[in-house]
């Protein structure tokens, strides 16, 4: 068996991924090209006496080495020297697709041309003489529909033959510029009949980009997306939570007790390590949904329309339409939002967008709002939460304007983007893509978050045996909390103590409050497993099944996000204790503080990775001071206005 390297190259949106999917019978792998948002797709396909190693290069229009996508491709070509280039062409856009082809042929590499979307030609009144093209270019051509499996055998055979006849008789003379050559060739092989037919994409765009309807449609689409994301992931997050705390923890307690393991080690493993791992895993359902939808928006082509529609709102802020997308993603989680700023060409645009994304309230902050809203504003919980989201957006917008006006005074970026043909994306591609992204996140941030939680555990258990109040964490918080008295909530050292874990992972805030107030939000973790091992495993499986069903039900359920319908009667004791320490105004001020404070360690490390340490400190300074100032204004202002 001989291993053959085959690179798939072509314009964006030509169906390269779909083709690899078809050829590999969906057994492809998605990884990461460093530095770009495009995922690296590859597969191994056995055919006759060969193993084909298929690699999907990022879509590009031009081999000119300007953007990162292009650099990656040209470097791959130089380093790996594939045995064959499968150049996928969108048949409906011959002129623009052939530019890359001619450039490739000029490099003198072996090429096989695959004409995708062949069946769409008729509807557009076009015809391509493939035989003539083969003669003119001296290259083998094949036409197909990438998503139809009946072409699989045919294409694999064609690839095999191309490898055998490695004759390189390109008839491309190198004196003319590539685009001139393209013009000559297209005139020879393409015939167009004038037609009045409007393509499906154009019809959809007439609605989606309509001057009046575009923005409402956008809001509806994203409301649905977020509702599905939050509602769909909630039952799964709950399951993970009870699995870790209700099953694994108890299992460990059982094992440790039977081996008389010292209590401190038990505490380390359960209250420290396990909580850390649980926190990381609790991100997973939300991120799976989020990355799935991001993938859907990208593959379908709608995301380019979002950039187009939002451009007019971003310009007054000194940004461009594409900058809106990270802000939107930030509503789910700030971490993928930071990475998605890579799609912006200018570095300063990326920096500003990343900095203000930190003010967009992410999913992890929601439990904080829910807890405090239900304790202090039970009847207006939804409005209180929405007011916080709105505040976050306003602060983000204001900072964007300030940064662009006074610090990063670049003229707003000009852009040229393609609005691709609408395509219905493949489920498998989206799922695999989401999976790969989440895996990357867990690898990147997982260790850090877990370690941080263990650190918090250590600080709240030193010296061992004292109450949280007298631990290092408690003592430090109590000495620091006077700083927060002007913000209203400084007299609660527990609230202060929870800010630090909150700085590191917003999910940790509610749990830290429970620890600091010496209640346990979840069931006591000192119980051993009852009823035996196997019954418990079965119970977990049943619960998982139910969680999945609930998730599906929630996704297709009513229109109000379920998170607000939930009866939050979980921990009465915590609620009572907090109510003793705080007034509604203090609570709101505390929520504002957490809203504007940078989300978590994962975001910090993402910013550091993308923009360096100096800029990270700038962003930290920016968010901490903004959080403090606004919390101050809210509390003091509220007092003046007569609120309590």
């Amino acid at each position: 068996m001989k291993k053959i390297n085959i690179a798939f190259i072509g314009n964006p949106n030509t169906g390269k991924t779909t083709l690899i999917n078809t050829l590999s019978n969906s057994k492809f792998k998605i990884g990461n090209w460093p530095g770009v948002t495009v995922a690296k797709k590859e597969a191994f396909v056995e055919y006759k006496e060969n193993i084909f190693h298929l690699v999907d290069l990022p879509g590009l229009y031009n081999l000119s080495k300007i953007s990162d996508d292009e650099k990656i491709t040209t470097e791959y070509i130089e380093e790996h020297e594939p045995d064959l280039y499968v150049n996928i062409i969108d048949s409906t856009n011959l002129r623009t697709n052939l530019l890359l082809t001619i450039q490739l042929l000029k490099e003198g590499v072996p090429v096989l041309l695959v004409f995708n979307f062949w069946n769409d030609l008729n509807g557009l009144g076009k015809q391509i003489d493939l035989g003539k093209l083969e003669k003119v270019l001296g290259v083998e051509c094949i036409s197909l529909e990438a998503n139809q499996t009946e072409y699989r055998e045919k294409l694999l055979e064609k690839i095999n033959c191309s490898l055998k006849n490695k004759k390189r008789s390109t008839k491309v003379s190198s004196s003319l510029p590539a685009r001139a050559i393209v013009d000559i060739i297209v005139d020879k092989v393409e015939k167009k009949v004038p037609t009045d037919k409007v393509s499906v994409t154009d019809k959809i765009d007439q609605v989606v980009l309509n001057d009046y309807v575009s923005v409402p449609i956008f809001f509806i689409v994203f409301f649905l997306l977020f509702k599905i994301t939050f509602d769909g992931s909630a039952p799964l997050i709950d399951w993970i939570d009870q699995f870790i705390n209700g099953f694994v923890a108890k299992l460990i307690v059982t094992i440790f007790t039977s081996f008389s393991v010292p209590k401190v080690i038990g505490s380390l493993v359960i209250d420290g390590f396990l909580v850390g791992v649980g926190t990381v895993l609790s991100f997973v359902p939300l991120m799976m949904f989020l990355y799935f939808f991001i993938s859907f928006l990208e593959e379908s082509g709608y995301i380019a329309r979002v950039a187009f529609i939002m451009d007019k709102f971003m310009r007054p802020l000194g940004l461009q339409g594409k900058a809106f997308i990270p802000l939107l993603i930030g509503l789910g989680c700030n971490v993928p939002a930071i990475y998605s700023t890579r799609t912006l060409e200018k570095k300063n645009d990326r920096k500003v967008t990343a900095a203000v994304t930190s003010f967009v309230s992410c999913g992890a902050k929601l439990p904080i709002y829910i807890l405090f809203s239900y304790i202090f504003f039970p009847k207006q919980a939804v409005f209180v939460t929405l007011s916080l989201y709105l505040l976050g957006m306003l602060v983000a917008i204001s900072w964007a304007w300030i940064l662009n006006r006074f610090i990063y005074k670049d003229a707003s970026a000009q852009f040229v983007i393609e609005l691709p043909t609408y395509r219905w994306p493949s489920m498998i591609v989206m799922i695999k893509s989401a999976f790969a992204q989440v895996k990357g996140f867990v690898k990147r941030a997982g260790t850090v978050i877990t370690v941080v939680v263990v650190m918090i555990w250590a600080l709240s258990n030193l010296p061992y045996g004292v109450s949280p109040r007298d631990s290092i964490l408690g003592v430090t918080s109590r000495s620091v909390s006077p700083i927060f008295i002007p913000l209203g909530w400084g007299n609660s050292w527990q609230a202060t103590a929870s800010v630090i874990p909150g700085f590191l992972a917003k999910e940790a805030v509610v749990g830290s409050l429970a620890t600091a107030y010496e209640t346990n939000l979840t069931e006591s973790t000192n119980e051993a497993l009852t009823d035996g091992f196997i019954p418990n495993v079965l119970k977990q499986c049943v619960l998982l099944y139910e969680a999945v069903i609930d998730s599906i039900k929630a996704v297709f359920g009513g229109l109000v996000p379920g998170v607000f319908i939930t009866d939050y009667s979980e921990d009465k004791k915590l609620s009572q204790l907090i109510k003793q320490d705080m007034t509604p105004l203090m609570a709101y001020s505390y929520m504002v503080f957490n809203l504007l404070l940078i989300s978590c360690v994962a975001v910090i490390s993402a910013i550091r990775q993308e923009f360096g340490q100096k800029f990270l400190w700038f962003v930290i300074l920016m968010t901490v001071s903004t959080a403090y100032v606004f919390s101050f204004i809210v509390y003091q202002g509220g007092l003046i206005l007569g609120f309590i």
Partner: protein
């Protein structure tokens, strides 16, 4: 020759000249917009970017500095 910004929606034009930012010029070229090409104006209003159709491709161009596209009506 007219500036592309002056052409109303649904009109077809031929590109005569493109001046300005080289980076953007190359980007335009690789998307199929260069001298001699026929394009159709799909969207041209005061607030949104320009939207044109080349071949079967929809390209959006932000209005403003750095790029001047001169065209002739067909």
């Amino acid at each position: 020759m007219k500036l592309i910004e002056t052409i109303p929606e649904n009109f077809e034009v031929q590109i005569q000249k493109i001046t300005g930012d080289n980076f953007l010029k190359e980007k335009l070229e690789s998307l199929g917009l260069y001298k001699g090409i026929k394009i159709k104006i799909i969207k041209n209003n005061k607030v949104d970017p320009l939207l044109v159709k080349v071949d079967n491709r929809r390209v959006s161009i932000s209005k403003g500095l750095g790029l001047k596209i001169f065209v002739e009506l067909l």
